[in-house]
Structure formats: C-alpha cells, structure tokens
Amino acid sequence: MEKITVRLFGAAADRAGTREVELASETTTLDELWSKLADRHPELSPMRPTLAFAVNDEYAGGDARVEPGDEVAVLPPVSGG
C-alpha cells in the first residue's frame, strides 16, 4: 500500500528528531493521521495546539481528507521575515 509521507519542520522536526515520517494508512483525515503520528512521536503532542498542517502544499484543517501517496506537512508557527 502506498504510504502517506509526513514532513516535519522547525521546532516539530527538532522535537521529533526526524524530518520525515512515513505512515501506512488507508484514506483518512488529518486528525486521525495526527493520532498515528503522535503515537509514534509522543514528544510532538505538547505542540499540538500551536501546529498548522498542509496537505499537498496547501493549508488544511483537521477534517481534511488524506489519501495514500499524499504529502502532509507539520507546520509550527511560522517565523519568517
């Protein structure tokens, strides 16, 4: 089965100790995918209220659909400029 690639950035990559995680999943939602990610990297859980997410390069909410082959990004508060 094709996997869902989760990319981590900034403080989230720092906390998890990795920049990329592959999760096996059927079609799911961002919220459900987050649960799987937090199971594997519990150190991310405290950051949850501060995080935004993207699916295939676009911001997405917790009920957004995620399919195998998609790329999900875990985005801490942005701090460019």
């Binding site: 990319r7 950035f9 900034g10 403080a11 989230a12 720092d14 906390r15 950051m47 501060t50 993207a54 390069d57 676009e58 911001y59 990004a73 985005l75 801490p76 508060p77 942005v78 701090s79 460019g80 400029g81």
Partner: protein, 146 residues
C-alpha cells in the same frame, strides 16, 4: 518575481530592477537579522528553513493578492534561507506603483502576510544554545517567553 535563495540578497539590483516608466514610486522593505542580548548571552546568527515548494507558492499568492487590491505594476519578494549573519537582509520586498500610497501600503501588507502564512522558520543560534522563534523550543537554559 518571487524567490527563496540561499545566497545573500542583492537588494540594490532588486530595487533597480523595479524601475518602470509607468511608475512614479518604488517602495522597498528590507528585513534584517537583529542581534538580541539576554544577560551574558547574545544571538550569534540566525538560520532559516522553508517548506518548499509551498513557501514559493505562498509568496506568489501574496504577490497576486497585492496586484488584485492595489494599482501596483511590479512586485518582487526574495526571502533568504540557511545561515544569515547579524545585520544582513533576510527578506526584501520591492513594489513599484504609479503612486506612492499603494506602493507603501502593498509593501507593508507583503511583510505582514509573510509573517502569517509563508512556511518559513527562524532559529536563533545564541552563544548558550538555540531557540526556534515562535515555538520557544530549543536548548537554551533560560528560554525567553516573549
């Protein structure tokens, strides 16, 4: 023109590239890296990372939004990633418009939107550890809360 670059930003070239005969105003905003101090510790340099290509896409969206809202004829936004030493430009915005009002307003809007929606992150590397700005995650003993 929208770009995320690893090398120093040539602000002069960016500004002169915006001159146009149909415009009477070129507004430029340059964000530079500031050295903060806290007790004995100080920021030694900053490191930026971007989620590409989403960050490129969001810069272009900001540019398109500006052109819909104001009468501007040219917008360039360049953001640097990687290590940036103190006092160097990390972002440059250049807007050319027929009139100065829209040029000023649009350049202000661009930097505010960059800080809201463009997936770029800044890590301050201090003499006593580092901290991810905005997340307050890092290795400094005394993490700042402001």
């Amino acid at each position: 023109m929208f770009a995320i670059v690893e090398e120093p930003i040539d602000v002069g070239a960016l500004v002169s590239g915006a001159y146009r005969p149909d415009c009477g105003a070129v507004a430029t905003f340059v964000g530079t890296t500031r050295v903060d101090e806290s007790g004995e510790a100080r920021v030694e340099h900053l490191e930026y990372e971007a989620y590409r290509p989403m960050a490129d896409k969001k810069l272009a969206e900001i540019g398109a939004g500006i052109r819909n809202r104001w009468d501007v004829r040219y917008v360039a936004i360049v953001h640097r990633v990687g290590r940036v030493d103190p006092g160097e430009p990390s972002v440059a915005i250049v807007v050319a418009a027929p009139r100065r009002g829209p040029a000023f307003e649009a350049s202000r809007h661009a930097i505010e939107r960059i800080k809201e929606i463009v997936p770029i992150w800044k890590r301050e590397v201090w003499s006593d550890g580092y901290i991810w700005v905005g997340s307050q995650v890092g290795t400094r003993g005394a993490i700042r809360t402001t």
